[in-house]
Structures are given as structure tokens and as C-alpha cells.
């Protein structure tokens, strides 16, 4: 339901009178519910709300942005004028690339599909569930800590512009996860948790919490934490590496999603999260990986964390291939970045909240599934390590050299799982690593994995992204990297 159309009209009128050649305003109503349980205690039970708006004004090709949660008519006028003054200050800089003047008018409404209303599950029931999950991970005396959590986010957005656009959306996202920490005989503490990036994060309602199925996986996490605490560290070796979805999705995030953000490629992120080794002039030519590497952007993806009807510039998503048979085809873009290099827009502009400036974000990407199950790929592997759960990850500011530290490694010899190792770190260089991709699992293993906290921008914003995938195998990867090597 549109609640702010009158306020928006006032803001846009004030911005125009102040000299903006284009302006838009977004009103956000944000709700964030969190529950966190650790060792039998409820450490956080919160329900946070934030309502605010942000004006973008365009003056002579220069953007200005002003966000506020003050909601009187005088505040609306002040915000509109301030955005225009800010835009004008940037227009004083010579030799700049002018921003694109938006022209499209869109009138639409959209809501994230969901099957279970969060309001149908009482706070008591949510807490009882998490406490049961947490308790079930204390499978041995040396499990010193266990945790479980859930998050529910509901964001109402109303976008209005001087081109006449009026887009009203309700975005729903959720996540749930758990983990256990065990201490070994040499006092080493090891944590095993998940699913995914310490939780399953997707677009949707409470059905996402149900889909995490914590009650089933939690005791196994407890058992594996106990094993890990006394397990040997993986020795340094070169072998085949199998990534289950919990690791593969983050590998995609760091070494494909981020380098294909077009603002990065154009140098806009150079001071903070870096640039990209892939550049627009390489579209159609750059070999990013093996022929099995098929990556797409789809910001209408069912259950995607970044799934919307329209992005934060009012652009409607469409599925865009980014890499086809290993060859670079496109980038994730905003209106301004796409225009600079004549590439398609991917509706990838997002802001963390009403106080943050919208920018290019990874949004939803996917790896096209191929064939086989995880177990059939294991059976097909002579000498390798299967890894699961992410513990640490690091990549350079061109997105080339990376080192990842999964939680657990299972040695594979002649098609069978064997010893368990802790610290199964691995390292690689992006195009060589994806070039060694020789198996991609099929539809049965395909899952929509999300992260709730991708950092980018100055000031830093936290973004919610999705990287849907099955499982994969890479040949001859350096494993078991050590600090004292």
C-alpha cells in the first residue's frame, strides 16, 4: 500500500524548484527481527524498525544524495534542497563523466512471494525451536559452546521520480543457522556450523527458517565439531578439490560475482574493495573458466536474497548471461555504469537502507547445473579432498589470488571418503582455478544460497546476495596452506 505519495510529491517539487533536473525519492519501512541463542541463554531477542527516506538529485550530470528519518514537511523540503546543493557541489569538478538522465516512467507494485507468514509463528515457539536446536549440539563434554539463530527482514519500499514513476514493493528475506565449538586435547577450538555461510539465507518468509532444517543437521554439526577438535590439519598437497554448495557459493561470490561488478571494473571501488581483473573490453574474448562455467544474473530468481520487482533505481530485472561456456559475456551494472560501456542493465543497483546511496551490488547470480550428484562425483575421484562449511576467506583487490579456509575436509581416495581433517585451506588464482573446473553437479544438488552481509562502498554498506549452485570439482589445487610455509 502506498503511504508516502503525498510526501514524495512535496520532496520532488522542492528538489525541482531548487534546480534539480531530475530527482527521485525512496521511502523505506524496515523491520528486522532477530533471535540468538547460545549455551542455553537467549542473548538477543530484538525487533528493530526504521523508517526513512532518501532523495537523489541530478544537477548538470552530477548526483547528490540526502537521507533522513525526520518526517515533517519542513524536513522534506530541507532534504530535497540539501540533495540538490550536494549535487551542485560535485558539478563544479571539471573533466567528469556526466551521469545518465533517467527518462523512463514505471508504475508498478511487487511483493516477495512467501508461503509462511512470520507472524504466524509466535516468539515463544521461535525461541523454543532455537533452544532445542542448540541443546542438541552438546553431544559431548568437550562441546564448549553452541549457538542457533534466526533473522527475519521485511522492507517496504516506495520509489517516486520526477519522470512520474511510482513503484511500491515489499521485500521479504530470512535466514537461520547454528553451530557448535568443541575443544580438543591440545586445547584447539574448532567450530562446525551452517548451513551455508553459517546459515541458510533466502528471499521469502518463515518457510526459509523451516527449510534450514536445523533440527536435523544440528546434532551432526556437534559430532563433527568434536571430531574436528582432535583431527589433524590437512597436510600441504596438490590434489583434486570438491566443493559442496556451502563452499562453492562463496567461491562464486568472491571470484566471480565481485569481479563482474561493473563499477569495480570502471575504478569506482578502487580505494576500498578494489578493481577487477576482468574489464568491459574483454567481453566476448576473455576465457574466465572451463566450458562447464556458465554463470547468469537473475534478479527475479525465486528465493533470491536480492530478488525484487525493480531495483533501487526503478529498473526491472531480466536474466542476463554473464559467462557462457567459460567466456565472459556481461557485467553486473547500474544505469550509469552500463551506459559508460554500452552493456545491458542488470537491475543490480541496491542500497543497504534508506540512509545509504544505491550502488552496483552482486545481487543474484547462478551457476548452471550440469550432471551428477555429490556422491557420484566423489565416486569418480581418485585423489582429492571434499570440503564443506566456510571458516575464513581472503582474496586480493583485483579478485585474482585467493585463499579459503573451509571448516572441514574429507579425504577421498579411489572414490571413497576417508579421514577427516581440520583447516583444509586451499589457494588459487581465479582464471586458473575456474579453468580447472571439470565437474558440475546436476539439478538435484542445486540450491539457492545467500549471504546477508557482503561489504562494499564508502561508507561501507552490507548487502544481501545470492549465488545459486550445485556442487563442483576442480583439478590439481594447492591444499593445506600453512602460516609457516
Amino acid at each position: 500500500m502506498a503511504m508516502y505519495s503525498s510526501a514524495a510529491a512535496r520532496v520532488l517539487d522542492s528538489a525541482t524548484k531548487a534546480g534539480a533536473q531530475y530527482a527521485d525519492v525512496q521511502f523505506w519501512t524496515m523491520r528486522s527481527e532477530s533471535l540468538f541463542v547460545r549455551n542455553g541463554d537467549v542473548l538477543d531477542a530484538s525487533d528493530n524498525r526504521s523508517i526513512g527516506y532518501a532523495v537523489r538529485a541530478l544537477v548538470d550530470g552530477s548526483w547528490g544524495f540526502y537521507g533522513s528519518d525526520r518526517m515533517t514537511d519542513d524536513d522534506f523540503d530541507r532534504a530535497a534542497i540539501a540533495a540538490t546543493v550536494i549535487a551542485r557541489s560535485g558539478s563544479k569538478v571539471a573533466d567528469r563523466i556526466a551521469a545518465v538522465m533517467p527518462t523512463k516512467k514505471t508504475i508498478a507494485t511487487w511483493e516477495t512471494p512467501f508461503t509462511k507468514d512470520p507472524d504466524s509463528v509466535s516468539l515463544g515457539d521461535r525461541a523454543a525451536h532455537l533452544l532445542d536446536v542448540e541443546k542438541s549440539m552438546h553431544v559431548a563434554k568437550n562441546v564448549i559452546a553452541a549457538f542457533s539463530f534466526l533473522n527475519l527482514w521485511t522492507t517496504g519500499k516506495e520509489f517516486y521520480s520526477t519522470t512520474g514513476s511510482a513503484i511500491v514493493q515489499t521485500i521479504r528475506q530470512a535466514g537461520a543457522g547454528c553451530g557448535a565449538t568443541a575443544i580438543g586435547k591440545d586445547h584447539d577450538a574448532q567450530t562446525r556450523g551452517g548451513p551455508g555461510d553459517f546459515g541458510l539465507f533466502q528471499g521469502g518468509g518463515y518457510e526459509v527458517v523451516d527449510a534450514a532444517d536445523l533440527a536435523t543437521i544440528a546434532p551432526e554439526y556437534g559430532r563433527e565439531a568434536v571430531i574436528l577438535a582432535d583431527a589433524p590439519a590437512l597436510s600441504t598437497r596438490v590434489a583434486d578439490l570438491l566443493l559442496d554448495g556451502t563452499v562453492l557459493n562463496l567461491q562464486m561470490h568472491e571470484s566471480i560475482g565481485h569481479p563482474l561488478e561493473l563499477d569495480r571494473s570502471l575504478g569506482w571501488e578502487a580505494n576500498f574493495s578494489g578493481v577487477s581483473w576482468a574489464t568491459p573490453d574483454q567481453v566476448g574474448k576473455l576465457r574466465y573458466g572451463s566450458d562447464l562455467l556458465n554463470i547468469y544474473c537473475d534478479n527475479a530468481m525465486p528465493s533470491g536474497m536480492a530478488t525484487v520487482g525493480y531495483d533501487d533505481e526503478g529498473v526491472e530485472p531480466a536474466r542476463v548471461p554473464l559467462i557462457e561456456n567459460g567466456i565472459l559475456r556481461a557485467f553486473l551494472s547500474s544505469r550509469d555504469t552500463a551506459a559508460q560501456v554500452s552493456l545491458p542493465e542488470t537491475a543490480s543497483t541496491r542500497a543497504q537502507d534508506w540512509a545509504s546511496v544505491p550502488m552496483v551490488r552482486m545481487s543474484n547470480i547462478g551457476l548452471v547445473p550440469h550432471e551428477g550428484t555429490l556422491e557420484s562425483i566423489v565416486a569418480d575421484t581418485k585423489d582429492g579432498v571434499l570440503v564443506s562449511g566456510m571458516r575464513s576467506w581472503s582474496i586480493d583487490d583485483h579478485r585474482l589470488n585467493f585463499q579459503f579456509g573451509p571448516q572441514i575436509g574429507y579425504e577421498i581416495k579411489n572414490g571413497k571418503r576417508g579421514k577427516i581433517f581440520k583447516q583444509p585451506t586451499y589457494t588459487g588464482v581465479t582464471p586458473q582455478f575456474w579453468g580447472s573446473l571439470d565437474r558440475v553437479g546436476g539439478e538435484s544438488e542445486f540450491k539457492v544460497w545467500g549471504t546477508p552481509n557482503c561489504g562494499k562502498g564508502e561508507p561501507e554498506q552490507s548487502g544481501r546476495t545470492t549465488h545459486a549452485c550445485s556442487v563442483a570439482r576442480f583439478r590439481n589445487v594447492k591444499l593445506g596452506v600453512k602460516a609457516d610455509a
Binding site: 541463554d41 531477542a45 524498525r49 549535487a87 559452546a145 586445547h187 577450538a189 578502487a270 580505494n271 583447516q423
Partner: protein, 440 residues
């Protein structure tokens, strides 16, 4: 009415509305933040935002509900209290909760608010950028970065009588200069934006970017490495992230375990928590609960001696409460930065690092990448730009042999830590540069 007084008055109004709670805490945060971000020598994002947050934690015995909003109207406050109370009624308890902190006599704060920062306009910020762009164009360089001015007010009131408030400003600039295949970085931060001179910042970044036309290779291995303050802050966070009771007593994954009281690192290394350092000028209270923050020493001449503990953890584990530790100061050494460089026969100088991750917290083992200015030191002189490296070290091990420059400076806010440190350059004798990248 001063903003602090306004915030405290609002906190008291909310607290009064929650008088039925067994205990209650109200936090008010008012933030005004502006950024002029730039790339390719022009302003790409130019923004300001102002946010107010009212947070209420309502306790019924050991059960707690927390609600945040920005609605300070009587109806908004009533809804806030009702929602927080409803949560507290419905959730199981936190059995480790003992009590909110009681009021304490706090020392006077140090000057933390400067009107020149709070009142800086969009034109003021762009004015500071124009000489940066001009310097880059003179040398055919492009730059990326931002300048910022921020004001934050924080007030906390609880039902036991805690009443604290603080207002602080912060301003800064970060500049990355890019020349074809090489880059250089410089930054400057101060509470008083008027004191930030962007001309020398641009000069340092541009000079660093143009030491060599192409970056050179260097065989990966262990070298004497000098980390400039920005780089040192990012590496030492492997230690900083393990000095709290949460890590030592609760998670039991801190490097401090089994090392407290033992001389495990160089006697040159002293790490302190000091909110009153004028370069930091942090509040004398914990921003989480308003309790007093102590000034104390974590590592005393290479010996880990103490860890921090919030009121909650102090009650839980029956240890002394220190308040949060986010005012980290590392004491300087005796040699100038130039003297440190001159003392290296064959080593590397690192300006900045990125994407550090602690791989093994018990050993403070951390991996990361260098960026924006890595140089070979030969016979005491910087000779050429190098391609970047991935490093992978145990900070407990490498800090056994470290020397510091004689000047500690304020580094930029560190992304993972969420705060700034005051620290010198660090010369580490045996630093593992594990792999080299293909670029600078």
C-alpha cells in the same frame, strides 16, 4: 539545548515510560555523516544522511526484549515500550545476565567535538578535493577515494541511575593514486576537519604511485618487512580480536590462552586501551551499556597481562569489568621511520593491506594481501615498486622480533574492527610473504 542534553533528555523520557520493567536501558544515537566519494578524478557519489536511533532493552527478571526505532513521539515511545515488554514476556531467560551496570563516577572527557567538522558543507568537502584532482592530473594519474565529515551523539540511561552522553566529530580523507601498473595510498584523519591538509596527502599518494614505471617480482619468502600504520593496524587485528573475555573465557579460542603472564613477544611491544588519547577522544564509557571504560594495558613490554570484559561478561565470569576496548594505542619506539628503513639490508615496505582473515585465532594466524604501495628495500633504501603479496603469519610469532618507529599516528577506521587505532610503523624481522600476485 546541546545535542547531548537533548539526547539524554529523550533517553530519560523513554526510560520513564518503561518504569514497570525490572531493569531497563535506553540508548539514543544521532548520526550525521557526509561523504564525497571520487574515482577517476571526479566526484562519483556525494551524500549526507542523518539518523536517529532509539533502542530500549526491557528486562523482566533475566528475560530481555530489545526494540529499536526512530519515532520519538509519545505514541512512538509507547509502542516501543509495549513491543519490548512483549518480547521480554515471551522469551526464555538469559541465565548469564546478572544486572545492568550501576552508575559510576566517570572522569571528564577530552575535547571530542569540533564545529569546523560538524558544520562542513558539501562545498567545503569538494574544495578539499580539488587540489587532489589537480595533483593527479599534473602527473597523468587517476585517483580514487573519499573525504568525510561525521558527527555522532550517544546517550545512555538505565533504571539503576546510569546517565552518560557524548558528542564527537571525525573527519578524514583517503586517496589512492593509480598510474598504469602501480598505485600508492595515503590517508589523514582528525577530529577537526579544518586541520586536514589534503595537499600533502595527494603528494604522498602520487609519489608512491610513481616510484617505478612497472612493478618488479620478488621471490616469495620470509623478509624483514616494515608495515606502515595502515598495514600494521590490519595485521595486528589478529591480536586485537582475541583480547576480550568473550574470546578468552567464553569462546576459548584466544591466542592469550596459556600465554598470560609469559614474555611471548618483543619487549618493544606495549598495547594499551586509552579512550582519552586526544587523537581518539572516545567517550569514557562503554557505548553498549554506559559503564566506565578503564584505561589499562593488554600487552606490557611483550607480556600479555590482561583482557577486557564488559559488565555482562564480568558478572558472568566473575572477573573485573573494564568496558569495551576500542581505543587501542600501541606505544612508539625510538627510531624514526627513515632510520627503520635504513636498518634493513634486504626487505620490503608495505603501505597498506586488505582482506585479512584470521585463520587460526589460537595462534593469531592471519592471511591477507598487500596493496597500493609495496617497495623493495635494499641496503637501507627504497629502490623499486614490487608486485603485491599474500602474507600468512602468526602474529604471536612474528611480534617476537619487532621494532617501532618513534611516532604513533591515527590510522583510518578499520573495516573489521569498526574502530581506529593509534600506532606506529612496525619493522618485523621475519614476515612470511607467502605468494606474489601478478600485479601491483
Amino acid at each position: 539545548m546541546h545535542e547531548q542534553d537533548r539526547a539524554l533528555s529523550l533517553a530519560e523520557t523513554v526510560l520513564a515510560a518503561a518504569k514497570e520493567a525490572d531493569q531497563a536501558q535506553v540508548s539514543i544515537t544521532i548520526t550525521d555523516a557526509s561523504y564525497a566519494r571520487f574515482a577517476r578524478n571526479y566526484v562519483t557519489q556525494n551524500l549526507e544522511s542523518q539518523q536517529t536511533s532509539i533502542s530500549l532493552t526491557y528486562y523482566i527478571g533475566k528475560k530481555a526484549g530489545t526494540v529499536k526505532s526512530a519515532d520519538a513521539s509519545p505514541e512512538g515511545i509507547a509502542r516501543l515500550v509495549a513491543d519490548a515488554k512483549k518480547i521480554a514476556e515471551r522469551v526464555p531467560p538469559d541465565n548469564s545476565f546478572v544486572s545492568l551496570p550501576k552508575p559510576e563516577q566517570l572522569p571528564a572527557g577530552v575535547p571530542s567535538f569540533f564545529a569546523t567538522t560538524a558544520d562542513a558543507s558539501p562545498a567545503d568537502r569538494v574544495e578539499k578535493l580539488l587540489p587532489v584532482f589537480a595533483r593527479m592530473k599534473r602527473s597523468n594519474l587517476v585517483c580514487s577515494g573519499f573525504t568525510t565529515t561525521q558527527t555522532q551523539t550517544l546517550a545512555i540511561a538505565n533504571s539503576l541511575g546510569v546517565r552518560v552522553a557524548y558528542t564527537g566529530t571525525n573527519g578524514g580523507i583517503q586517496v589512492k593514486a593509480i598510474a598504469g601498473s602501480t598505485s600508492g595510498y595515503a590517508q589523514s584523519y582528525a577530529l577537526d576537519y579544518a586541520t586536514i591538509d589534503t595537499v600533502p596527502v595527494a603528494e604522498i599518494a602520487a609519489s608512491k604511485a610513481t616510484v617505478s614505471p612497472e612493478p618488479a617480482n620478488l621471490e616469495p619468502g620470509r623478509y624483514a618487512v616494515i608495515l606502515e600504520p595502515s598495514a600494521f593496524q590490519s595485521a595486528v587485528k589478529a591480536l586485537l580480536e582475541g583480547v576480550d573475555a568473550q574470546n578468552v573465557l567464553d569462546d576459548k579460542d584466544s591466542w592469550m590462552i596459556d600465554r598470560i603472564g609469559k614474555p611471548v613477544m618483543s619487549p618493544n611491544f606495549t598495547l594499551r586501551s586509552d579512550w582519552s588519547d586526544p587523537r581518539l577522544a572516545n567517550p569514557p564509557f562503554d557505548p553498549n551499556d554506559g559503564s566506565a571504560v578503564k584505561r589499562f594495558t593488554f600487552i606490557d613490554k611483550g607480556v600479555p597481562v590482561a583482557y577486557s570484559a564488559s559488565t555482562y561478561l564480568a558478572n558472568k565470569f566473575k572477573v573485573p569489568a573494564t568496558g569495551v576496548a576500542d581505543s587501542m594505542v600501541i606505544d612508539p619506539g625510538t627510531k624514526s621511520r627513515e632510520e627503520l628503513i635504513a636498518s634493513v639490508d634486504h626487505g620490503v615496505l608495505v603501505s597498506r593491506t586488505w582482506y585479512e582473515r584470521v585463520v587460526d585465532p589460537r595462534q593469531a594466524a592471519i592471511t591477507g594481501l598487500t596493496r597500493d604501495g609495496v617497495y623493495l628495500i635494499e641496503n637501507g633504501k627504497l629502490t623499486k615498486t614490487l608486485k603485491n603479496f599474500r602474507y600468512f603469519v602468526s602474529m604471536v610469532e612474528v611480534m617476537k622480533d619487532v621494532e617501532f618507529s618513534n611516532r604513533s599516528t591515527l590510522a583510518e577506521p578499520e573495516s573489521d574492527l569498526g574502530y581506529q587505532c593509534v600506532l606506529p610503523d612496525a619493522k618485523i624481522a621475519n614476515f612470511n610473504l607467502a605468494a606474489q600476485t601478478s600485479f601491483a
